[in-house]
């Protein structure tokens, strides 16, 4: 339903633009004042470097390939943009998750229902040590260092969160400049980071402050098995020194390369503003390919117009920018270069059109080094994909992972939710978005199966399907474990985390789209993204946007499907069509006397009526009979539709006519009667399958006459499979 869009109108409104311009000026003024009051050092960052964020990093890191170490120093400038006076700072030291078996990650991997038990061999550990931490004026903060574990259940001994205390607290608007030195042992790839032979993927590698939240304190969780990350937007300048024959890929834009011929090293400097993480990779085995995404060539004027119309925006607001694309690909996968770039261009186009233009100049796509376990992961302006040696045409791999991981540049990268606490906001939304992009650009894809690296899809035509079909199959099977909105480390298991935050959340969003209509949902997503770009949105923010854009109170939808473990299942309990009796048996009062209508009398009456209609009986299609169709619907599950979103019910009759009704779905059941001259052929509740989240679509429809051809087909296939299995067993005897 197309609703009035006051929020979007404000964006186009010059008055609104002026208000935003004033806000920017005020921010700059506050920053200038704060710069004068910067704690412990002169504010130098604004001189010539173009810093735009209140948090800034400059890191110098050298990779020691022989010893598998990183030697680094890091300058951090952090500005207190809150009204709180902040006495301390908490840092993430993620690589200490790989230090020993006391870490939260390794403890959690062995607990409960987790399948992903991580085994680390002797010598493969990794860690990070802050060896020096001083203020810019030289005062040493390292003596105040302590490791803290604040999440429940507690895992004492985890060292992935470090706390230091300032000699004087940082007042609102003030900045603090820190100088750190740290050294890290690169793990033999444990979770997303590490090395294999001479190839490295370096993620979550530097001491990173948590996010300070006004009135709450530092949001800085331990590294959990089933969680990702959360950090503030910042400006980065990183100098990476590696052996000269290594090819490097990194977040950000390459601004300089310095060669040290004597020591056979090279230093690559990358810069990027307004991102909240920084990752890099290095290997002598990469082929580096650069191409350009030229918006004018990728998007037609008609597509711009159609998008603008769908979103209720001016055409200029949906225009995309050019982007430099870099691919680092393994040599043995060079035949797939074009396939990688096609997928990336597709992602840049559709994410850009639907959610907002990609705001950075560069994006780097990495075919991760072999055995670094770093594939399928996202970092701002860089992501890893991963492919097989033998790709197949029908299987959307690596396309699916490329679109998905690029998409995280939007959901997580730009709308930077707290992945520890509300993972569905990026994983679920991005899974939903990925499905839409793949459906639009590629159509259905087949599931891929292989044996010893040989695709079985070459020999066996596996079924094709859209992402939303596969997601639903997973979503309905996980409903009774955890709500979608559960902190990542508190899920029942790794599987519950994955299936809930990815698949169930995405299925919920497809359901929401079907409920609201494609256009309204598109506007919801666009509004949510543009409103929370470069911010930290929460689930409450998303729900508020849905309410805002639709003009309806839709919180019930999320309460039923995201905040609880309620199974959604409406279905047909029974359907009957019986001939309405013209004449009723029994005793009746006729003109003051009691007269009995017997079965025999009724039969005689009917024969008489039949012959009076004319020789030969009733005309074709006109039986002269009336049928009462009784339809009983039930709410089998606990989740309910909102009263504003009643369920449609459709009954189709043998004479081709149809009748539609609605049911508000609140009670446990309802009975509907229809009186027609034809029997019912079938009935359907939710005929358009709006409620994709329904766990039992089979009971949404009921045919009076069973048509079992599909069942027999399946039975025949099962029989054949079992026969072959039995023959194989007999061969072993």
């Amino acid at each position: 339903m197309i609703m009035d869009r006051p929020d979007l109108k404000r964006l186009k409104n010059p008055g609104g633009f002026l208000r935003r311009a004033v806000q920017v000026v005020l921010c700059l003024a506050v920053s200038a004042v704060a710069g004068v009051m910067t704690f412990g050092a002169q504010e130098t960052a604004s001189q010539g470097t173009g810093w735009t964020s209140p948090l800034r990093y400059e890191i110098w890191v050298e990779l020691d390939n022989a010893r598998k170490m990183l030697w680094a120093r890091e300058d951090i400038v952090w500005q207190n943009t809150t009204q709180d006076t902040v006495p301390d700072m908490l840092f993430h030291l993620y690589w200490n998750a790989f230090k020993n078996e006391k870490s939260t990650v390794l403890q959690e991997s062995k607990q409960g229902s987790n399948l992903r038990g991580i085994e680390v061999k002797d010598g493969d550990w990794g860690w990070i040590d802050v060896v020096s931490l001083k203020l810019a004026d030289g005062r040493d903060l390292l003596p105040t260092k302590e490791f803290v574990t604040r999440d429940e259940p507690a895992h004492e001994g985890d060292q992935t969160v470090m706390r230091i205390v300032f000699p004087e607290p940082v007042k609102p608007g003030e900045s603090v400049s820190l100088k750190l030195e740290f050294e890290s042992k690169v793990p033999r790839t444990i979770l997303r980071s590490g090395y294999y032979q001479d190839s490295y993927f370096i993620g979550q590698w530097f001491p990173k402050p948590g996010v300070y939240q006004e009135g709450v304190g530092w949001n800085c969780h331990e590294y959990h098995l089933s969680s990702e990350f959360f950090a503030d937007f910042a400006d980065f300048k990183v100098h990476i020194t590696v052996p000269e024959d290594f090819v490097v890929g990194s977040s950000g834009k390459l601004t300089s390369v310095t060669k040290d011929e004597a020591n056979k090293k090279a230093t690559y400097t990358y810069e990027q503003s307004r991102i909240h993480d920084f990752a890099w990779t290095a290997s002598p085995n990469f082929i580096k390919v650069e191409r350009d995404f030229i918006a004018a060539q990728e998007v037609t004027p008609q597509e711009y117009e159609d998008t603008a119309r769908m979103l209720g925006l001016a055409v200029d607001e949906v225009k995309l920018s050019d982007v430099k694309m870099t691919l680092l690909i393994q040599k043995q996968h060079r035949s797939q270069i074009d396939r990688h770039f096609k997928a990336l261009r597709t992602a840049l186009k559709y994410y850009g059109l639907w959610y907002g233009p990609y705001p950075y100049e560069t994006v780097t796509m990495v075919d991760p080094p072999y055995r670094t376990d770093s594939g399928g992961m996202e970092y701002p302006t860089l992501f890893t994909a991963g492919t097989a040696y033998f790709p197949t045409k029908d299987v959307l791999s690596p396309e699916g992972v490329i679109v998905h991981e690029f998409g995280h540049g939007y959901w997580y990268g730009l709308a930077a939710n707290n992945e520890f606490e509300e993972a569905w906001l990026d994983e679920g939304i991005n899974t939903y978005s990925t499905g839409k992009v793949l459906a639009k650009a590629y159509g259905p894809g087949a599931m891929g199966f292989g044996f010893n690296g040989i695709p079985l899809n070459w020999f066996i035509p596996f079924p094709k399907g859209y992402d939303h079909e596969q997601n639903r199959a997973a979503a309905i099977n996980i409903v009774e474990y955890d709500p979608v909105l559960t902190p990542s480390w508190k899920f029942y298991s790794d599987a519950s985390y994955g299936l809930n935050v990815y698949m169930r959340a995405a299925t919920g969003l497809v359901t929401l789209e079907r409920l609201l209509g494609q256009e309204t949902m598109a506007r919801v997503m666009r509004t949510f993204h543009t409103r929370f770009r470069f911010k930290h949105p929460t689930s409450g923010d998303f729900i508020a946007v849905v309410n805002d854009v639709t003009g309806k109170e839709m919180s019930w939808f999320f309460k039923e499907l995201f905040l609880d473990t309620l199974n959604f299942d409406y279905g047909i309990a029974s359907l009957r069509s019986e001939e309405k009796q013209k004449h009723i048996r029994g005793v009746f009062d006729v003109e003051g006397k009691k007269e009995e209508m017997t079965g025999k009398k009724i039969k005689e009456l009917e024969e008489k009526e039949s012959s009076e209609k004319g020789g030969g009986g009733p005309k074709s299609g006109d039986t002269g009979k009336t049928y009462v169709t009784s339809l009983t619907l039930r709410r089998f599950g606990e989740a309910r539709v909102g009263k504003e979103a009643p369920l449609k019910v459709l009954v189709v009759f043998e004479d081709g006519t149809e009748e539609s009704r609605v049911w508000d779905g609140q009670a446990r059941w309802i009975k509907m009667d229809f009186e027609k001259t034809a029997k019912a052929r079938y009935a359907v509740v939710d005929p358009e399958t709006v409620w994709l989240i329904d766990s039992n679509l089979a009971n949404n429809s009921y045919r009076l006459k069973a048509v079992r051809s599909g069942v027999w087909h399946l039975a025949a296939k099962l029989l054949f499979s079992v026969q072959n299995f039995l023959q194989a067993v007999s061969g072993l005897m």
């Binding site: 043995q332 690296g453 079924p463 045919r703 039975a715 099962l718 029989l719 026969q723 039995l726």
Partner: protein, 288 residues
């Protein structure tokens, strides 16, 4: 006599014993039907009246996900209902192998129910003991040999800098394993054939002498065995290729596909007969 001629004799013998195919097919069909009957009834109950029932013709995520959800609490029952009849079927074949080999070895005699099941009974206890030896043989192959083969490839896989060596090594390892597996299968086939043709009740000594027999004629015996195996692979490829051109819609298409599937099962059973008949001829021609 050359392998081709022996193969030809084997084909003729298998054809002459085609009545056995019918017995064996019926047993296979009945067992398979019993296994899938409960699942069929469940699916019919849930989908028989539903508009979604039509989608069951092809594998689809919608109904597959629902089946998993509906029946998630009964996997043990399903597994039990599936595995127990499968194991029983396997044991039944220990019994039936006696009839198969007995009849192919009795050249010229017509197959009747009486003489077929007579042979099944006569050789059952011997073949049961052979089965126990077969289990030991499989343990050796799967356990020790597989580990040895794996160990041979391990250094190559461990030091790989990309997936190509791993793909090559793992496929080579599978191929080597399969070839060794065929040798073990062939050996135990000849033990059974020898027991029948010599009408010996001494399983261990027959097993030992068969080792010698195979050892002296290993290449010829194995080539003959692989020849029949390749024929089976060829039939399988033909089955899948033909399946692509069969009609897809309508009752006639369903019946054609069903019949074509059963033709393939007949061919599989026929291949089993062919294995034993070629082995019987080879043994008779070459026994000391």
């Amino acid at each position: 006599m050359g392998i081709i001629k022996i193969f030809g004799k084997g084909v003729r013998t298998a054809a002459q014993n085609s009545k056995m195919l019918a017995y064996l097919w019926v047993i296979n069909f009945v067992f398979a039907s019993l296994i899938i009957a409960p699942l069929f009834l469940l699916i019919r109950k849930d989908f028989g009246h539903s508009l979604l029932g039509g989608t069951l013709r092809n594998l689809g995520f919608t109904w597959l996900g629902e089946l998993i959800y509906k029946y998630q609490n009964i996997p043990q029952a399903i597994a039990g209902w599936f595995l127990i009849p499968a194991l029983l079927f396997g044991f039944l074949y220990i019994f039936l192998n006696g009839g198969i080999i007995g009849r192919v070895a009795a050249e010229g005699e017509k197959v009747t129910l009486q003489n077929f099941f007579g042979d099944c009974g006569r050789y059952f206890w011997r073949f049961l003991r052979v089965f126990i030896l077969t289990v030991i043989g499989y343990l050796l192959v799967f356990g020790i040999l597989f580990s040895l083969i794996g160990a041979a490839f391990k250094p190559w896989i461990k030091s790989a800098s990309n997936e190509v060596p791993t793909i090559i090594a793992s496929n080579l390892r599978t191929l080597v394993f399969l070839l060794i597996f065929t040798i073990v299968q062939m050996y135990f086939d000849y033990v059974k054939v020898s027991l029948v043709i010599r009408d010996s009740k001494k399983v261990l000594s027959t097993a030992l002498s068969t080792l010698g027999f195979i050892g002296r004629r290993f290449v010829k015996a194995w080539v003959l065995y692989l020849f029949v195996g390749i024929l089976f692979i060829a039939f399988t490829i033909l089955y899948f290729l033909a399946g692509k051109v069969l009609p897809k819609d309508g009752l006639a298409a369903f019946l054609i596909a069903f019949v074509w599937g059963q033709v393939y099962i007949w061919l599989r059973i026929g291949i089993k007969l062919l294995f034993f008949s070629t082995e019987s001829h080879f043994y008779k021609l070459n026994k000391a």
